[in-house]
Symmetry: C2
Subunit: 352 residues, 2 copies
């Protein structure tokens, strides 16, 4: 009988934590995640609240520097500032930190992990020996899961990505703002919000992160460029990362991101070859039924573990076999955040 | 004193017709559009209804083959089938038909008109002499207005377009469906609709037009490819049309389309040069404030006449000066439909 392991979630009442609990709740008995002892850590505002997981009430404990004693995994989902402040202490206390914020992603010494792509980075990580692992940005994860197998099999020279990002990327309050604001607009009131400067009801807008005055790119776009680069270069079978251009846009959708992606392959390949690559790609499900106009949508992706990929077709503006378009949807809270973090924990647990 | 001209709108109670009335209603006295005698033609279902324009009640007349006597301009906004059936008869009766459907757009003999680009096509058209002119597809018009000036000044080799299309493109009933379905979802009911197969509330989906089983492109994407080609090739200063790839997506927005566009220029140009081109481009307004994160959105475009263009920035994946990204929003019902049609009428009226 293996030792009982403890997983703590920092930011216990946030959207990512709640999704992590839902995943743990639904884990089958033979999933090592099902055996975890779960602790919830939160701010004074949420301490004392009770959440349920696998039939057990879990009370949110006040998060302090002493919270990590006896904790094997610490999933940080409370924003960059909390991670920067506290993750190093958690690692020092012996925790394997899986950080959902952007605080450590680009640190040279921090593995940026998508288990389908670069699980070998976990070889040097061991339960009981403190370390910090970073969960990539949500849009990054979805694009990487779909594009890496193509890059490995055929080579991607360049990708142009336009996102359709759900408000959940800005947390639970943003989801509540979309719902409340939409209700207000339907009742004839004005579209005021606190999370987003722009109205979100029946509207969309360039991603609300800061714009670099020189490059003109926002922080979200910059993250995608750099993180995809780092993930592909650190893959178990490293590939030359594609050159990328990203345009990040928020849409009035609750919790699944979509991306329209135009590819330039390194060598000409047939559409069938591309389909065969995606059909067996881990974490990907092809949903591409032209006759029934059945393609990925946020609604179809919500609550699911896989990145749905469809609209795969040749790009008529490029040389035959070199250009393809595709469209994907994936749950921002699951594969884009909580699920990816728990998949990392599961890999380490399986290895024992 | 010039002769009083008559403009008839076919499809009188539809969303495009209502927008045309709003534009006519707001036209200043010295606008030739303000002098038009407006008639409304509709189906038995809408005949007898009364709409108002410039303080005058206008009763919807039953649309019959005899409706065109004494009509100078006939704006068809009742779908492709009605246009195919009736536009030739209207032209035979001496009307200048401005057809908002796709029925005649790709006919070799039919001018496909965006007045900012190819108004010279109107040289051979005269009031009183029957003819059919086509209004391009809404997404096409918005892209063409923004891209043509760049193509003329700098040359565009290739453009990759991902759209964020409002439901108004599917007409007034689709707008009502979005509102009703959203209300239902907020009240905990299921997201059922009749216009769209996919749920539209808090969701998005690949454009609901049929997919060609061979190319994988839907009808909307095919329209954009072909129409932009035809418009650019027939421009007053013709340009080599760019190679294009389009991905058309419907979003839960009421009436303004947005487009994320990645450009490859024919020759390297500085960002400032591109800005200068767009700053004086007819029908375009630059809205591109990086410091305040103030860029085009559907809400900002709604009810306006111009195509808002922003997020203009170099594409880091292309050779310096050759690649640029931009984002645009424009009112689908105005420049995408009613306004473009009325601008055509205005040009002909001004010429007398």
């Amino acid at each position: 009988m293996p030792e009982k392991r403890t997983l703590a979630i920092v930011g216990a009442t946030g959207a990512v934590s709640r999704e992590a609990l839902a995943i743990l709740d639904a884990a089958p008995e033979d999933d090592p995640l099902a055996q975890l002892d779960v602790r919830l850590l939160g701010s004074p505002r949420s301490a004392g609240q009770t959440l349920t997981c696998r039939g057990r009430d879990i009370s949110v404990e006040l998060f302090t520097p002493d919270s990590f004693a006896g904790v094997d995994f610490a999933v940080f989902a409370a924003g960059g500032a909390v991670s920067r402040d506290m993750a190093p202490a958690a690692a020092e206390a012996g925790c394997v930190v899986i950080d959902n914020s952007s605080a450590f992603r680009m640190d040279e010494s921090t593995p940026l992990v998508v288990p389908e792509i670069n699980a070998d980075l976990l070889t040097d990580v061991a339960i009981g020996r403190g370390s910090i692992l970073a969960n990539p940005n949500c849009s990054t994860i979805l694009a990487a899961v779909a594009l890496y197998p193509i890059a490995r099999a055929l080579g991607i020279e360049r990708a142009v990505i336009s996102t359709y990002q759900a408000v959940s990327g800005a947390g639970g309050p943003a989801m509540r703002e979309l719902l409340a604001q939409t209700k207000a607009v339907l009742e004839g009131e004005s579209a005021r919000g606190r999370i987003f400067k722009e109205p979100c009801a029946f509207n969309l807008f360039s991603h609300d992160s800061a714009i670099d005055p020189e490059s003109g790119r926002n922080v979200e776009e910059e993250k995608m460029l750099r993180e995809i680069d780092k993930i592909f270069a650190s893959a178990d079978e490293p590939v030359v990362p594609p050159r990328l251009s990203c345009t990040c846009v928020r849409v009035p959708v609750l919790r699944a991101h979509s991306e329209s992606i135009n590819l330039t392959l390194r060598r000409a390949a047939g559409e069938r070859e591309l389909r065969e690559v995606l059909a067996v790609a881990p974490g990907v499900r092809l949903r591409d039924d032209r006759a029934n106009n059945d393609f990925p949508t946020p609604r179809k992706a919500e609550g699911g573990d896989e990145v749905l990929v469809g609209r795969l077709r040749p790009d008529p503006s490029q040389d035959e076999g070199r250009g393809y378009d595709l469209f994907l949807s994936g749950d921002q809270l699951r594969k884009g955040a909580a699920l990816n973090a728990l998949q990392i924990a599961r890999r380490l647990l399986e290895r024992g």
